[in-house]
Symmetry: C2
Subunit: 297 residues, 2 copies
């Protein structure tokens, strides 16, 4: 079974205990937040790093991948709320609050966060040495001062620490995906530190580029959001060419950083495919290239 | 050091790592959500049950107590939001969203939830046999289908399951406080099942009575909220006398359920004091009675 399918099935299974007895509209709202998914970058990254690092505990890697994706989905629900981006579309569908109202959007976000940690807590007995650090690194990436919550909160500050903002808003969960993968895979974590952060920043710059250049029918959400919300964007800061250059540097840096490990070659191939996909179409070496990291589903 | 002071100090310590590097307004918003506190019923209940059950792991009990209180504080921040109760006051102060805006209210709730689970995750290595079940029972009380999130979500359903609603919205976190206390204390958990749920329902009925009878200057938040929001209330369902009778039954039931344990007598004395406090003033055996369970601070 390929990684994408494993993730979809595990996400389904993770929500099953909620779906049976929850208030029915809450169940529908939180399923809407999770399915259909986007590219599932973060959980795939976690599984790929685990696999490259020896795959010592594949079930723990999958649990971490699912927890990370649930936290990501929750953060998107909040991001889209009227008091933040007030976005009508996400992944080509009406956003959760548009369909179910703000109350259920907020509550589905809460339920997803709690579920993510509940899954990690279930690992404590089976992997007592790994589950605590795993939960810690994922919590760090979700909360404050270093995680998504802090990243979003920097937008409410009169003065913004740009590096802290980007690291927290996007880098942190990518970094957690990589480190969780290395931890579950049984590898040495030190060599991986910073790689996810680079990928996260690359993803953020790519998102800024798409936001500046893209078409909403391609990316499944409104464009021009950074300008509308006065948010700092790499395109504003560096110009279009500068942003593309920065994106290339970040991706090259990440690829060169993959430490010596069992599955190094395969992981680098995957990351190259992903890198190709993140670049604007006109900048790609081969515009019709296969993108092995991206599921077409 | 008394339990109330221990809890306040531990809550302070739990937020310290957030306060150092977080966006400053987020730090202020989440401190506003936690301090000054209310009666701290749930964490005190957790510590008292732990103490009555043998107090085998007082630090774990304190961690659980703090996590439970952080989750409770988060739930109040959400409850007060414009899309839910739109409440201007809480614990006698302007609510978090009134002072800091909806964005930071939502984000402070998220940060508190994540921090609660991070603290529990930190316990995995030290108490590998206890931390997993502890995290599980607290997550169950916070999320869906059986926790606060589900309780709040029942309010968005066209048909409400009243028992599930009350159990989830209020009972679940009391039940978790009792069971977490028993687990950390080293006692047998089975005898405690249902006690917290009874106390939670009692607390809910008392809240309904205060909402119907109370004065906002006494309870520190607006009254008549149940009628305003069309929420099911014990006073509507049972009438005033019926609700008082139900409250007495629940409190008596909880007190009689305290299982045979080292500190049974002391715990019963505390619960009797608490029970006295929950009854409307005119119904108390001794209107000037000391209330040992309630801190006067």
């Amino acid at each position: 079974m390929d990684a994408y399918t494993r993730i979809e099935q595990a996400l389904e299974a993770s929500l099953r205990p909620i779906s049976t007895a929850s208030p029915p509209r809450l169940t529908r709202a939180l399923r809407h937040a999770v399915f259909p998914g986007g590219a599932r970058f973060r959980p795939r990254l976690c599984l790929e790093v685990a696999s490259a690092s020896g795959d010592a505990n594949p079930e723990l890697a999958l649990t971490a991948a699912v927890a990370i994706e649930l936290l990501h989905c929750a953060s998107l629900v909040y991001d889209d709320l009227p008091c933040f981006d007030d976005a009508p579309l996400r992944r080509g569908q009406p956003t959760v609050h548009v369909v179910y109202g703000e109350e259920l959007a907020i509550l589905s976000g809460n339920a997803l966060i709690v579920r993510a940690f509940e899954l990690l807590g279930d690992s404590c007995e089976r992997w007592p040495q790994l589950a605590g650090p795993m939960l810690g690194l994922i919590a760090r990436a979700a909360g404050s001062p270093y995680g998504i919550t802090a990243g979003q909160a920097w937008e409410s500050e009169p003065r913004i620490n740009l590096r802290a903002y980007h690291r927290a808003k996007t880098g942190a969960l990518f970094e957690a995906a990589v480190l969780a993968g290395a931890l579950a895979g049984g590898g040495e974590r030190a060599g991986w530190v910073g790689l996810g952060d680079r990928l996260g920043e690359a993803y953020q710059v790519a998102d800024d580029l798409r936001d500046a250049l893209g078409r909403p029918d391609i990316i499944g959400k409104p464009v021009g959001q950074d300008a509308t919300h006065g948010r700092p964007s790499a395109v504003d800061r560096l110009g279009l060419d500068g942003a593309v250059g920065r994106l290339r540097d970040l991706l090259d840096g990440a690829i060169h950083q993959v430490p010596d490990c069992e599955g190094r070659g395969e992981l680098i191939t995957l990351l190259r495919g992903w890198a190709e996909h993140l670049l604007p179409r006109t900048q790609r070496a081969n515009a019709s290239a296969q993108v092995p990291f991206i599921a077409t589903a």
